[in-house]
Symmetry: C2
Subunit: 190 residues, 2 copies
DNA sequence: CAGTTATTTCAGTAATTACTGAAATTACGA
DNA sequence: TCGTAATTTCAGTAATTACTGAAATAACTG
């Protein structure tokens, strides 16, 4: 591997983290390299930079494409494939969230749904189904929220993030106003 | 493996998903089993239920404990260890988020910080640092938000989730009120 | 079309990770 | 203290995953 020291640290770190993130070392390294490099790179440049086999680069790029984490570019008068990552880190975040959901959450959601359709044949199964229903309920809530939030334009999403838990204060305020209005017109029965 | 069919489906699914979630098959299966079983189980019961070796169970329980996903219980007049999962799925979610952040995000954050401290020695390094700064900024924003939100009590968190993107409407309303107030007193210069 | 370059595929091998059984350790109870 | 039950450790092996090099395929060019 022959890279500027700062780049190398970054690339090696992504390689090490790869396994924790559900990708492998090479995939992590290639992603990191593309991310910090200003111009798109072709496969041979990656081979050169990371000191790995051509076939490994080919397979890893395919993997990164499956994750939608990489863009294929073509330069004029050059028939080689060049690759980069999207510039916008928010877009990267969205892609990452979408793909992880698809791989890590959706399959479980559908298995849970399937099991919950069945008739329990014992107390054990009845109890198990109850627990699965709780899990299913939580996951559904989370994914509904996610589907909702992912539609926001980036600057609104950023606002939402910055606001964080402060939103609840806003909610409290709203509650007060609402209950105030209600108490004027028709006070709570409880 | 000798389990009621519904339980078995669930357990096998968690086993299969294990690798995608960064845990292994056995750990996933044990977790699933404990999650749906009403009473705490001891190691031998797990061996029995899943048909795996005693030592594997021991190691996997240790792993689950490292994740804080499992509770150790003791029954009176029985010196064996019994295990369950917490009842509250929201609590489980919090633990999961915390542990994944610790393992998957924090190390990268600290590597980024370290690299960003260094003096770039070339244009390539300068550009790479800019990209890393973008990534660092985004991750910091996300973790700040997370630190903020995780402090909320569960019902507030649930409200926030249910509200989802609708919050932005509330924000728009607030913006209007604020800008209205401002325009009365001292209109924008821009 | 033949020759050249770029990319992919895939069988074999290397590296890593998961699991087992036997032995060691720990924690009691008589 | 000795014996027994519970748990852990760990060396060896099995299973899985990652990677390579050679061969095949695809995409162009003259």
């Amino acid at each position: 591997m022959n890279l500027p020291p700062l780049v190398q640290s970054f690339v090696l770190h992504f390689g090490e983290m790869g396994s924790r993130w559900g990708i492998n070392r090479t995939v992590g390294q290639i992603y990191a390299l593309l991310y910090v490099t200003p111009e798109p790179l072709n496969a041979d440049q990656i081979v050169e930079s990371l000191g790995i086999s051509r076939s490994n680069v080919s397979m890893s790029l395919r993997e990164l494409q499956a994750w939608n984490l990489v863009l294929l570019k073509h330069l004029p008068d050059d028939r080689r494939d060049f690759f980069t990552t999207p510039d916008d880190v928010w877009q990267i975040l969205r892609t990452l969230a979408e793909e992880r959901k698809k791989r890590e959450v959706d399959p479980t959601l559908s298995v849970l749904r399937e099991i919950l359709m069945q008739q329990p044949a014992s107390d054990a199964e009845r109890h198990a189904q109850e627990r699965m229903a709780e899990m299913h309920g939580l996951i559904e809530r989370l994914t509904t929220w996610y589907d909702d939030v992912k539609k926001l334009e980036t600057d609104r999403l950023a606002t939402l993030l910055t606001l964080g838990a402060k939103v609840t204060r806003l909610l409290e305020a709203k509650d007060k106003i609402v209950s105030l209005g209600r108490s004027k017109r028709s006070p709570d029965k409880a």
